[in-house]
């Protein structure tokens, strides 16, 4: 069988699971969970250095950016200017052109502001960034993002951190079917089976943070997600059986005694 490599924004990944690094109790726990998840790509945030605490541990001391792909994210940005500022700083910091754009529009739902998102995507693509874009599950807007050079479409399953799973499978399917760039479900995944469902729908990948970090045993849950994504992908590649309204026996009727 041909190896199933996940290609996104010019990178070849072994795992179709991308994990976030927020909400963990410690960097040591973050590192262990990332390892257990098997992910080759992690999202990270850009924030001010705490200048008063010189001994504070740094994420880069626990997750080596040479071994794992850092995907700087603009979480917390509410307009395109803030997002652009953050990603330009991220590029300066590590030399990364691969970024995740997330422009939020509402504090309660953390729903993306798609007008600002589209605006920022255009500018970032022009500046040479490879942009993976967090978006609503609207197929028309997803297409617009692709037409404007997005490297990956990342529709939400449900609101960030809600753990509600995929609320609109139909829309996610429409986006998968129309997209020529990878589709990665981002946000709202609550448990491992949600990731399997996303992969069975035909998503190219899944991005998970809270569902792992906020479980009772994050490292074990990271492993559960690793397996769930592999299972879902294999299931998708196998092609499921058709559905029947009534029973069809599994054993032959011929030769029945």
């Amino acid at each position: 069988m041909k190896k199933d490599i996940f290609k996104v924004a010019g990178k070849s990944l072994k795992s179709r699971l991308i994990v976030g690094t927020g909400k963990y109790n410690s960097f040591s726990e973050t590192a262990k969970a990332v390892q257990a998840s098997g992910a080759d790509m992690v999202t990270i945030a850009v924030r001010r250095v705490n200048i008063l605490d010189k001994k504070k541990p740094l994420l880069t001391d626990y997750l080596d950016p040479k071994k794992i792909i850092y995907l700087p994210n603009t979480a917390g940005c509410f307009n395109s200017e803030e997002a652009l500022r953050t990603l330009r700083l991220a590029r300066e910091m590590g030399g990364w052109k691969l970024v995740k754009l997330e422009v939020l529009g509402d504090k309660k739902t953390l729903y993306p502001n798609m007008i600002e998102t589209l605006k920022a995507t255009k500018i970032l693509v022009k500046e040479g960034f490879k942009v993976m874009v967090y978006c609503t599950d609207d197929p028309l807007l997803a297409k617009k993002l692709e037409d404007n050079g997005a490297s990956a479409i990342m529709p939400l399953a449900s609101p960030i951190g809600s753990g509600l799973g995929i609320l609109n499978k139909f829309n996610i399917s429409l986006i998968i079917n129309q997209s020529k760039v990878p589709v990665i479900v981002d946000a709202g995944i609550g448990t491992a089976s949600d990731a399997t469902i996303a992969m069975e729908l035909g998503c190219d990948g899944v991005l998970v943070n809270s569902a792992i970090a906020q479980s009772k045993k994050p490292i074990l849950m990271a492993k559960a997600f690793k397996d769930a994504v592999i299972s879902g992908r294999n299931s998708f590649l196998s092609g499921r059986m058709g559905k029947n309204l009534l029973a069809i026996p599994s054993s032959p009727l011929k030769g029945l005694i």
């Binding site: 990270i44 001010r48 250095v49 740094l58 880069t60 994210n73 700083l89 910091m93 809270s210």
Partner: protein, 67 residues
């Protein structure tokens, strides 16, 4: 002496202090960080050349855990 705003906090520094000196003071010289000086990103190669003056705004950012 010069008063600057560093990551939102008022900080007093010596005159003729460069961004490089500032990073050394906070033990950040070898860390993965990025600098914004009065809203403009300063490339690493210019840290020694960029001197700070009164009322300058400096932001030092780094990567932290995030979703």
């Amino acid at each position: 002496m010069a008063k600057i705003q560093l990551n939102g906090k008022k900080v007093v520094i010596k005159t003729n202090y460069s961004i490089f000196d500032l990073l050394k003071k906070y033990k950040l010289s070898n860390k993965k960080i990025a600098i914004e000086h009065n809203g403009v990103i300063i490339p690493k190669t210019s840290f020694k050349k960029k001197y700070l003056k009164d009322n300058d705004k400096v932001e030092i950012v780094h990567f932290i855990g995030g979703g």
